[in-house]
Symmetry: C2
Subunit: 606 residues, 2 copies
């Protein structure tokens, strides 16, 4: 059975060498505990936990899945024990505020943790992951009493959390939410309605589950401006931080899904369940989305993780399995055939996975620094800082979430392809990565929604192209520094051209959209993908530049590592980046080709 | 539960209007029975059977899967009954020779049939599909006695067939085959070995199963030149065409797969099983591959079918599900939100599926005419005709199989994407299409193998670029005819440019490959995809030209159909075809970016 190896060498390269996290942490108020020694120790320990505790449950969790009996969900064998170890290790409170029991480390460290745990076992990581969503909401919008009651046990990991948004009739379009919250005499609310697709809606890992629920007060305005946010615990809080009476919220069914089968996806029925308002009335959506940009980095990890995992296993197979001879001549003449790794086409697939995993990781870690600053802004109540970093992060998150999850799917499928027919067989684990990863472009806003958020909202509506101008200014400045470097020149020139093109495309779409509003929706997907390829190109030049510097300063035991970074950057620029141009062409094509066929004429049967 | 509707309107458009099959059938010796009335009746009846009998078993077959008990495989509920109806309808012998009980209709009709049945239920269609493989082998290489004994019950559908090639240590690289065939005193052979991934290896649909097996005679040369072909029946033939003694071939295990779960994928153990040589000693591979080009068209159908099915269901959902408002203004003001179909980005996904399904179908039907001629060559023993059409078809089949199955996967995934989170849930059937389709790029030669076959063998080795020159000559001539048409001019110009570019790319690769053999493997995938996009562009211009002609000749009830054809062609050229250029750029990039990293340096852990 395959196992996961935490890619600590690459993570530390990005953390210490490319993005200078040690320096970055010194600028953060909460960064004083994040000394290089502590960071190193936490990364190593998290890697070990992911490899030894979570990875072995990856396939068994998929095969066993979750069970629902008498409204109670049971997770697969080994999950409860692994979760207990997770709680004992204090992992849940890593980036949570110290005053509520957390370790108060920077948000970025929580994301490094999530990358390793999520790659080893995405289904498992969703249980604590959803709790983090609930915790963030309470940190920002809860009263002191709510924090003491809910945040403390959530931070310990003793309680779990969920986010209850989707209903049968609406997912993206939350203005259609129907769940009702009726005020009760004691100041609480009685919630009635059905929520679907609730990850971790019920399970046996924690003694209580804290649901954060979108619902409507009586006489609330229609649409998105009439939705409020409520805390609805599975068990009402009892004395001494324990649990009390069972609340009227129940798991009515478990969804049968393509993948992430060890993660319980629940239909949740609220039958007059007791809830407590959190945040202002009718501002539930804003409260829910406060942390959206940080949360979406969390989901973007599901682009990088599967690429890494699938790459590791495909690489091992490609070294071991022998088939045919390399076109350039026998590579292993003593063997019956050459290993797959000697075939250029197999290398094309492996390097695509590698370039996505490492390029995507760099995109994540680049954004995590911004997330640290933004969270600090929240902690300090510094609205200027919040706005500044929320803008920067708000531009990047749809690119990260949308683009990286699309590429994560591609990488996972390439992993299957390297295995040939064996990739289709369950025991090798490769097809499971494809099934698990397929959710990533669907939940937390589909790729289409990310694309619209990027182009329609962040680029056009909010900044009239300014977001692209600002980011490409940064990119172009970086590229210019490397125009005279022999080994980086061609990459730098390409990146410089793309910076200019990205602005030009933005302007052209902006002008076209003034006459034809469909342009935005028509161009959004290609714009998102184009933006992703260019952003990843920037990340590959940054990595290549550090590698080049290190090689110039004389070889050490890392020489091969740096040379491989340069070679992978070259691969990315020469074989993957050309795709940006097909997106550039498509995005400028007229909306007519999408809109002219009437719905009735889309198909002719009979 | 979703159902399949046979796309008869589109099929008949291609058969009657674009490719003039009525005229084509008149040129075939076996075509006299394929009158327009007969063809129409068969298509309609096959559509009805696929919709009413096979489609309802699509999801239940996946959920139930196959069972193995006491070495006997049981297919899912309903499969045996459906298969009996299939036999009663005489479907198995549609294109089989009349002298052995078939209907003697052209091969193309068998492929039209396979498209509908395979789209409605791919797993089901694999049982008779594998039998066709066995039948073709016996038709071409069997003795008269073997034909009477095996071909007749196979043609009736009373017996099933398999192709036993793959072994645990080899799939693509069949030179590594180890299964042994020891000559017996009675002229038969005793076969010993293990075959894996044997589709329909055992099942309860037929009273007997005829395995066509690759094995080695004692003292046979090593590698591919020492492999012979054998008939190994599950039950030895009995008196009066019935079955006799049970043979020593058994299903040892069923593979647990990602999809096509209703198709039994067996590990087959041959324990001194009685077999009979078919074809000359040591020429088993050539015999097995005689019909490869036709067989691969059969697999290419699994690119088109899933695109069609997924499109049908996604389209229905997009018309029904309401979310948000169209950017260009409310489309259904009386409703809580607009249907998905009014969003340009959703249309982009739907039209991509549609363009793949219809463009891919056109590619198939174009190739099927060549297959008809080639089969006629075999029937007449006309080696000149065989060679001529085998060359033409041999060039197209890797493009069809490789490119269309890749795009079929894309289309199936887009279908899930249109459904959003609901696409991930089993009950909607969309994720099953993805799982079922995933096998298509893996079996019958992976995409990588198709790419190498196309570029390395068909284009460079066998014709020194001549295959591309000949095909682009045809394409360019067609494009030139439409340069003066107002509505087709821009498409024709684009196609003309691509014809020239395809040749240029071929020459550049040919020259580069003289110095660096890795070029072929490095460029093969991009060359394959590029070839696919251009071939599909040719097919879209052909469809558009017919549609345009019909519109010029005055409107009838088909006006909307033809207008939609033109609009879809436009969509294809403007939004999908630009991808060809990114493949063109990638394929010319230096092999260095693939080959310079040593196997050891591909990953650094710890």
């Amino acid at each position: 059975m395959p196992v996961y190896k935490a890619p600590l060498r690459d993570m530390k390269f990005l953390i210490n060498e490319v993005f200078d996290y040690p320096g970055h942490y010194q600028t953060l108020a909460c960064g004083e505990n994040a000394t290089p020694d502590i960071v190193e120790a936490i990364l190593n320990e998290c890697g070990r936990f992911s490899e030894e505790v979570l990875s072995p449950l990856y396939q068994s969790g998929d095969q066993e899945g979750c069970r629902l009996e008498n409204s109670e969900v049971t997770t697969p064998k080994g999950f409860k024990d692994a979760y207990d170890q997770y709680v004992m290790g204090g992992w849940q409170g890593l980036s949570a505020p110290e005053e509520y029991g957390g370790q108060g480390l920077p948000a970025s460290m929580g994301l490094f943790k999530q990358e390793m745990m999520g790659t080893a076992n995405w289904s498992f990581s969703m249980y604590p992951g959803l709790s983090i969503g609930a915790m963030n909401t309470i940190v920002l919008h809860g009263t002191e009493d709510q924090k003491q009651t809910y945040l403390v046990p959530l931070t310990e990991g003793r309680w779990g959390g969920t986010m209850c948004l989707t209903e049968p009739q609406c997912g993206t379009d939350l203005g259609q939410v129907k769940t009702k919250a009726d005020p009760q005499a004691d100041g609480s609310y009685a919630l009635t309605g059905t929520k679907i697709f609730i990850s971790s809606g019920d399970h046996d890992l924690t003694e209580n589950i804290v649901h954060i629920v979108l619902a409507r007060l009586p006489d609330a305005p229609k649409g998105t401006k009439g939705i409020s946010l409520f805390i609805v615990p599975k068990f009402l809080p009892g004395a001494d931080g324990g649990v009390g009476e069972r609340n009227a919220v129940n798991c009515g069914a478990l969804e049968k899904k393509m993948g992430i089968k060890a993660s319980a996806t629940c239909v949740m029925n609220f039958d007059g369940a007791t809830g407590y308002l959190i945040g202002p009335e009718n501002e539930g959506l804003e409260c829910m989305f406060t942390f959206m940009n940080t949360a979406r980095i969390g989901t973007a990890i599901q682009g990088v993780g599967p690429a890494e995992l699938s790459y590791q296993w495909a690489l091992a197979y490609a070294k071991e399995r022998r088939s045919m001879r390399a076109l350039s001549g026998k590579k292993e003449p003593g063997q019956v055939a050459d290993s797959l790794i000697h075939h250029a086409d197999v290398r094309r697939m492996l390097l695509t996975q590698k370039a996505i995993a490492e390029g995507g990781r760099a995109m994540l870690y680049y954004a995590c620094k911004l997330a640290d600053h933004m969270v600090e802004g929240y902690n300090e109540g510094d609205s200027e800082k919040i706005e500044k970093y929320d803008d920067k992060l708000g531009f990047l998150t749809p690119i990260l979430k949308g683009f990286l999850t699309e590429l994560g799917n591609e990488a996972a499928n390439l992993g299957v392809q390297v295995f040939g027919g064996h990739g289709y067989i369950r025991e090798h684990g490769m097809e499971q990565i494809v099934r698990d990863t397929r959710i990533a472009t669907l939940y937390e806003g589909t790729t289409g929604i990310q694309a619209l958020d990027l182009l329609g909202r962040k680029v056009l509506l909010m900044t009239q192209g300014g977001a692209v101008r600002e980011f490409t200014f940064t990119i172009a400045n970086f590229a210019r520094k490397h125009l005279t470097s022999k080994s980086l020149r061609s990459l730098a020139i390409e990146l410089l051209k793309l910076s200019a093109q990205w602005n030009l495309l933005t302007v052209r779409i902006m002008l076209a959209a003034r006459k034809d509003r469909d342009v935005v929706s028509a161009a959004a997907h290609d714009f998102l993908m184009y933006s992703g390829y260019v952003t990843m190109a920037y990340m590959w030049l940054r990595q290549a530049a550090v590698a080049q510097d290190n090689l110039k300063n004389g070889g050490d035991e890392s020489t091969a590592f740096y040379q491989t970074k340069l070679a992978t950057a070259e691969f990315y620029y020469e074989r993957l980046l050309p795709r940006a141009q097909s997106h550039a062409t498509s995005m400028l094509s007229p909306t007519r080709n999408l809109m002219q066929i009437t719905p009735d004429d889309m198909a002719f049967t009979g």
